[in-house]
């Protein structure tokens, strides 16, 4: 049977006159009030933090997914080769890349391409980490920054300079372009 008949509980006289139930309710509310009051005044350990003053940053896990950012390698070379895989996989279409050619007199001319422009729209980004996962060059990473704020939409459009500023240099990765050929 899909229907369940819930039986109305039979109340004792002191319950139906709000006597014992009233006392029970007061006990619960006063208990919570006392517990929280002791926590606020510091007599008891708190389970919560007051955010802007206290932050949980030290406890963020290694796999935390915050703002995406571009990184450079040891020689300050942009790791991104503008293959646009991240742009295509990005579910909310937050990434926009304009590929550019590396001129032949550049020491890294053999890499051939680097992004001329690389914009991530932080009003669209959903922090899913697919760009990081798909990147064949280990160029894009989700950092631990989570408080991405701005006073205008334009401020939340992270351009190339901003992305490299957040990402910085990342060492110890595979450097396939260093080998001489």
């Amino acid at each position: 049977m899909a229907t369940i008949f819930v039986k109305r509980p039979k109340l004792a006289w002191h319950e139906s006159f709000f006597l014992s139930t009233f006392a029970k309710g007061l006990k619960i509310t006063l208990g919570h009030a006392l517990k929280t009051f002791l926590e606020i005044t510091g007599k008891k350990e708190k389970v919560t933090m007051e955010y802007p003053e206290q932050k949980w940053d030290k406890h963020l896990p290694e796999y935390y997914r915050g703002a995406p950012a571009l990184v450079t390698d040891e020689q300050d070379r942009e790791r991104c080769v503008s293959c646009q895989l991240c742009e295509f996989i990005c579910p909310p279409k937050a990434i926009r890349i304009t590929p550019g050619e590396i001129p032949s007199d550049d020491p890294w001319a053999k890499v051939e391409k680097r992004p001329k422009e690389f914009d991530i729209d932080m009003t669209r980004c959903i922090y899913c980490g697919m760009c990081e996962e798909v990147c064949p060059e280990q160029a894009i990473y989700l950092r631990k920054d989570y408080a991405i704020t701005g006073e205008s939409r334009a401020e939340l459009m992270h351009d190339k300079a901003k992305l490299y500023q957040i990402g910085g240099k990342r060492v110890g990765l595979v450097n396939k372009w260093n080998e001489l050929k």
């Binding site: 009233f22 007061l26 619960i28 509310t29 919570h32 929280t36 606020i40 005044t41 007051e50």
Partner: protein, 404 residues
């Protein structure tokens, strides 16, 4: 004209004005503001939250390192911030309302609530002549030796006056609901009128046993009697230690319960806040109000709460009297109460009111709201009969075991 002016007791007039200003602007209104803060903070801790704790004195604006947070809990200047917010908000009058009544309603809520405070004895008496030594040292004329009673109007119909004026408060709510020309306020107003009229009955009947015991209607004299002979609910000294008073303890307790429940209904507090239940009526009768007009409703509601607590404290819990006062030498003696004791009595009265308001708040966050038919059933079929029975019981007890 000169004859008329000569007949005016100037001392009495000045004393009354000072008392009115002291009680309304320095006691009731700040208390209203802080009871809103207390409500928010207390409800927060009941619900395991922190509550408003951010407002402090913003010394950082003037180059200091830290904002001051009074008593370390923060947020104690929240009422000021709230007040400024209310004053600075846009005072919006919707096009469809009946403008005259729309403007009248908030005043009709606030004014009766403040008017009722004149009969509350907030202290015993102040013998200002105690200051004469200091004043003559300063070269000023001294006060007369007649003590100033700590009550604005020493009426001999105290509770009746309070009920008469407090019932006017329902007009504010009904007119607000009607003038708003909107269905939610209208429903709120209709509910409020039905509820307040029903509970006025048990409110009035519940104090008849009390008046029978005291044998008078003067609130100041009731307080004096309780100070000397034990509170109605704590008859532990003076004549309170007689069989008659202890036998009357049961009907008095019943009377107190009925009075408090009816008072909750009268002030539209939570188990009975049918007039503004958020889940059904958006905000009830003040849905269409904004800015300071809304604040006036708010102030009126909390002022009514404070006055109601004051009345309950005066009738049942000894008013300004200190427990076991006469036994430990802190009792009142007519014309012979030192100034510091008079001030202490005022303090005790305020402490009792604060405790009562905290009780109000605790109840609000403990009990769920009644359904409207349950509310009416409780009012007419339980409380009314109980109050009537209580009158009979008291009369019977007073006949069997006479007082004094």
């Amino acid at each position: 004209m000169g004859h008329l002016l000569a007949n005016i007791d100037l001392t009495f007039l000045i004393a009354s004005v000072v008392k009115i200003v002291f009680l309304t602007f320095l006691v009731i209104l700040p208390m209203v503001a802080y009871s809103v803060y207390a409500e928010r903070r207390f409800s927060a801790v009941i619900q395991d939250r922190v509550g408003p704790n951010r407002t402090g004195i913003p010394l950082t604006l003037f180059g200091f390192k830290k904002d001051i947070q009074i008593l370390g809990i923060g947020g104690l200047t929240q009422p000021m911030a709230d007040g400024i917010k209310f004053l600075l908000k846009e005072d919006f009058t919707p096009k469809s309302v009946n403008a005259f009544y729309y403007w009248l309603a908030p005043c009709l809520t606030m004014v009766p609530a403040l008017m009722t405070c004149v009969v509350l004895p907030f202290g015993s008496e102040l013998r200002l002549s105690d200051l004469n030594g200091l004043l003559s040292w300063l070269g000023l004329p001294g006060f007369s030796t007649v003590p100033v009673p700590s009550v604005i109007a020493d009426l001999s119909v105290g509770p009746l006056y309070t009920f008469a004026i407090a019932s006017l408060g329902v007009y504010g709510i009904v007119i607000a609901g009607w003038a708003s020309n909107s269905k939610y306020p209208f429903l709120g107003g209709v509910r409020a009128s039905a509820q307040m009229i029903s509970y006025e009955l048990s409110l009035g009947l519940s104090i008849i046993p009390v008046l029978m015991v005291f044998g008078e209607l003067n609130l100041a004299k009731m307080s004096i009697y309780q100070d000397a002979n034990g509170w109605l609910l704590l008859p532990l000294w003076g004549e309170g230690l007689s069989w008659a008073r202890w036998a009357l303890w049961i009907p008095m307790g019943l009377s107190f319960c009925i009075f408090v429940v009816a008072m909750f209904a009268e002030t539209n507090r939570l188990p009975f806040d049918m007039a503004e239940c958020e889940t059904e009526l958006v905000a009830g009768y003040h849905t269409e109000y904004s800015s300071m007009k809304f604040a006036l409703f708010f102030l009126g509601e909390y002022a009514a709460m404070i006055i109601g607590s004051g009345l309950a404290v005066t009738l049942f819990l000894g008013g300004w009297s200190i427990p076991f006062g006469p036994l430990i030498g802190l009792g009142y003696a007519a014309g012979d109460t030192p100034l510091w004791l008079g001030l202490l009595h005022i303090g005790v009265f305020l402490v009792k009111i604060v405790a009562f308001i905290l009780f109000f708040i605790l109840i609000r966050w403990t009990l769920p709201r009644f359904r409207f038919d349950q509310l009416m059933k409780l009012g007419w079929m339980v409380m009314f009969e109980l109050a009537l029975f209580n009158v009979l019981l008291t009369a019977l007890l007073m006949w069997l075991i006479p007082l004094k």
